[in-house]
Structure formats: C-alpha cells, structure tokens
C-alpha cells in the first residue's frame, strides 16, 4: 500500500483517479450464481434430490440449468445455486468430506476473442 503522505497534490489526484478506475472494474464482476459440483454414485440425482443433499431451498437452485453430469466417468454432477446458499452448501460439503473436485465453483463472465469490429 502506498503511503499517501509521500504523494504530491498532482500525484494524489492521479492516485484517487486510478483507485476509482479499479473500483469500477471490480464492479464489472457479475458472479450472480455459482456452480456446486458433487459426487453421486448410482443413477443421476434429480434436482430436488440434489437440493435436499445440500440443504437448499427450491428458489436457490437454478431449474433451467438442472443437474448436469460434468464428469460421468467420475460420477460428478453440477447444479447452479444462488450465492446466498453457499454457506449451507459448504457446510454439507465439509460434512461429506469429499476431494477438491467437490465444492462451490465460479461462473465467470466469458466473451468472444474477437478482433476489430
């Protein structure tokens, strides 16, 4: 962290401006929902079964996303949940004692790698 006492008036203004830009950039983050990946053996769970496994209320689970087999060979499934449900989901994950493939994962923004337009 820079010591503000070392800054001239002009440098101070520039510092404030750059901080504002950084703040604006961080506001671009739109992580509205997160993905919850978990292991489940046997037949694929229904959405309500998955919600019950992680103590989630129906509105906290994205029904259009559903339950997706993200790695069928490893019995891994994923659902999309509201950030508000993360603490409860994480508590259940800890109780299950799974590996690093089980957990709450980001759903970052993606964009085309387009050139000039």
């Amino acid at each position: 962290m820079r010591d503000l006492r070392d800054l001239s008036a002009r440098a101070f203004l520039a510092f404030i401006a750059s901080a504002a830009i950084t703040s604006a950039q961080s506001e671009d983050i739109h992580i509205e929902k997160v993905m919850l990946q978990f292991r489940h053996s046997g037949r694929a769970p229904t959405l309500s079964e998955a919600a019950a496994m992680f103590d989630l209320k129906p509105p906290e689970v994205d029904t259009s996303f559903g339950v997706i087999a993200t790695d069928p060979g490893a019995d891994l499934y994923t659902i999309l949940i509201d950030p508000a449900a993360i603490p409860r989901a994480k508590a259940r994950l800890v109780a299950r004692g799974g590996g690093p493939e089980e957990g709450v994962f980001s759903s970052p923004r993606i964009e085309p790698t387009n050139g000039p337009n």
Binding site: Q25, D28, H30, Q37, F65, T78, F105, P112, N114, G115
Partner: protein, 557 residues
Amino acid sequence: MPKRQVILELRYSKHLATAALATSSSAEARIEMAALPKIAGAKVDTAFAPTSMPGLRVRSPLATGYVSGAKFDLATEPAESTYIVRAEIDEAKADDIRGLDAVVGCYADVQIQPCLICPSSPALGTDSDVEKLLCCSDMRNIKMDGNGVLVAIVDTGINIAYLAAHGKSPDFDPARSWVPQPGLTPGSLPVNHGTMCAFDVCIAAPKCTLLDIALLQSNATGPNVMSGLLSDAVRAYAHLLSIMQAPVRPGEARSLVVNNSWGMFHPSWDFPVGDPGNYSDNPNHPFNRIVAALETAGADILFAAGNCGSNCADGRCQGIVSNAIYGANGHPSVLCVAGVDTNKQRVGYSSQGPGRLAHDKPDISGYTHFTGSGVYSADGGTSAATPVVAGVVAAVRSKRPYTAGNPSVSPAAIRALLRSTAEDLGTAGYDLDHGFGVVNGCELYKRFRQPFIIDICQLYPPICRWRWIPIDLCRRYPHLCRDHLHLPPGLPPGPRPNRPGEYIFSMLDPDVVAQLGAVDMLTVLMALGEIGCNDLAPPQGILDGGAVTGCRCGSSS
C-alpha cells in the same frame, strides 16, 4: 572474428558517381568492383547498387556541421554527395575502416521487420490467400473437405443464409444444435461473431456439417452484448456430450470438432487463484472437468489462446499479458490456437504461453486478421485463427474419422498430427508465441493423398501374403493390427486362435502404408524376415513425393 553487416558511406569519386548514376534507375543493377576504393577488411555486396546521398550546406555561417533541426540546403552536385554501399566487415576492423580517407562513415545495417498486426490494423490478405496457404484445393481433390464431420460453433449463433450469400454452403443440423433459451432459432441468429467463425471453418472444410451452439446468446448480464457465463458453457458442453454418447446411426461416423473462440479476459472475473472454486488454474472446475469428459468421448476441441498478447493486448485484458491463457483455453485436452497473419507473423495481440492448466500452450497457430466473412472489417483475433484450424481438423477427420477404442484416431492423435506437421515459426521447435508453428494443410495433404501405387506384390511377392505377427510389433505399431482390416475369408479379426500373442495384418492395407514411416516399415519387414539388409545393400524406402509406398534393400528407387 565476428562479422557484421554495415552501411558504408563513401566520399565522392568519379567512378563511384558514375556507377551510382548508371544504376539509379534499376533495382537489379550491380556495382562494379573497379568503381570502389580499396577497403581492407570489408566485403562489399555487389548486388546492392551504390546510392548517392546529397551533401548538406548549412545556412548559418556559425554552424560547424550538421545539427538535427538546423536549416540547411541540399547540395546535389555529385562531388558534394556521398555514396552508400552495403558490406560485411570484421567487427574489430570497424575503426580502421572509419579511418580511411575514402570512408565518411561506417554504420550498423540492422535487421528490420514489418510492424506487428494490432487490433486496429487493417486486414492483411483475404480468405482466398488463407485457402492457398492451406492447400485447400489439393485437400478437396482427395476429399479432405469436412464431409461427414460435425463442427460445433460454440459462439453467438450462426446465420446459414448469410453464409450461403457469401459462398459457403456447408450442411447444417438444426436438430443437434442448441440454444440457451427458448425463442432462438439455430442457424437463423443475427449475423455476428459466430457467423464469422462458421465462415472461417468452411475455408478448409466446406462440406462439414455445422452445429449451432449459441452459447453467447444467453441472457447473462455483462458489459458486452455477447457476454455470457461459464455455467452456460457447462450446459452447452453437456449437450455436446450427449451427442457423443448417443447411439451411432447406421453409416454415421461420429466425428465432432468443437470450435471455441471465446474465453475469460481478466483474473478479476474469476475467484482468486488458490481459492478452491477458482476456474482459471483449477482442473477440478466443472467446466474443465466436462471439457476433459467431452474429449475422452472423442471430440476434437479447439480453443482460442486469447487476445492478451504483450505487444498490443485487447483492452479487456486490463494490462495483464502474462499467464493470460486461462482455464480451458489452455486445457491439456484441447488444441490451443494462437494467431498469425497471412505473412506468417504472429499478430501482436495473440496471447502467449505458458497456459495456466498446461505449460506448453498455445499448441499451434492459425491464420487471422484477413478479409473474409465480411461480418467485420477483418476476420480477426484468435477468434478467427481458431476456426481456420478447426476447419483443417475437420478436413483431416474426413480421412480419419473418430472410432472409439482406436488410439490412432483419438483426439490426442489428431492433435499430435497437427502439431507434428505444423510449419515451425519463431525460434526453432516449440515456442510460447506460436506453439509448434502455423497449421500446415499442405503437409497434411501430402500425408493423406493416395500414394502412387507400385505393384509391391509383383516386386516382392512374399510381402503380400497374410501372416501372423508377434504382439510386440502390434504394440509398437498398433495400426498394423487393427481388427477392421480387410481380412481374408475364413480368418477372424483379432488375436490368432490359441495363439493370443499373435495378430493378423497385411502390409498392403493402404492405411498401414500411409501411416508407417520408411524406417518403421523397414523395421517391420526386417523383423518378419522379409528383407535382410547389410552395409553393401542398406535399407531404402520407396518414396513417392514423401509418401512411403514400400521398401527394399539396395539402391534407392
């Protein structure tokens, strides 16, 4: 003693002035050695015509010589001019040369290069140029054209009518296409980035079957109308996985090429590195898992390296230009594509490796920043480079369709083929700017063209009989022992009955001949005792334009 290329500035001499005057109108003129003063230690390039440099007369009487910015007049008389020639000198003799009466100066003749293409640069070349660079007409002649291959454009959606109006008429499969929300019609979406990608796939694979996977048509919020969320990509990939896992229709080859000209541009869009929920560096992230699953199911997956190259990165990179190949774009199971222009020079915005999930990314380069689809002023970005390469992969798949359980046609084998045939660019071998080099359709064409058939059976009858071979040869050359070879009547495919250590094969199967190199072919034949070579009659491959058509001992064919 190190040599150095220099520019020599010489004083006026009658011979030199005459030579400069005589050669000034001809680019091909050569300098006569007799016109030059003797310069020990310098080897003058006689192909470089001497060029006169007008003298300078400074207007101010107080000025002592030429000073940048001072007003001066040009002295055009030959006697007041100096003369430029090009030479190679011993570096240690530069001062001696400068001390000669005939020499005004001795300057470094530095190597110069054209400027790198940047996002705002005009297009360089056209899709026709790309077609020629890839030898597409040769490929089409041998049916390397994408026929029978599904190509999924995972993007903003495609517009088939636009493609047709611009000369591209691939097949289209609406039933196996996918849109993220109701109300969108695959193949009839607004002309945008996805349509550009589809056009560029068709450069090398005009007969492929397109799937419209309109991932970036999701209603996700973001600063860009084409923004999406990675969870949408998980849904899209689940759809593609279902295609690969569906029962194969009679007569259908299950080859799927997946083009991804999109990615994440800045770490701030993601959970921090080290967080267990991070995407960019985490192979356990659901999207990275489903990418691996789709590749395991047999799909050839291509991702753009990204536009965060150090020379002129896209503004969305926010200045982060190192380690900027995030997540699946640098996944070990995908072909990661960098961009070069039609002069085979890396475009300045093409992201450089290493990748975050695998070090040696990008894998390969594709052509970009050319006038093509007409959707934009240029088909640019690594966005265009990727479908250009995807089209080549689809063309290869026309000749080598995916077959489950056959390692020689697995996605990994196809990636290895593209890497090994690429035209090396930049530093020798792999480098983090270009990968293994630019995709080389011409070399791939040579690999797949039908070899000129020499009647090997007539020349070497013992080679042409069916035989059982030891399993260690099968392990070393698995394509020798494939079960689907055309077996003679009465012989079952696979291991020899009661002798599981032996398999059947035929040297005459054209696939075997095409895939075995000359050395391997000789190894097999010698192991089977069909040929025996010695120092007087060394093994020779029978070659036809690079294709091995047989081998024998003795003089070359």
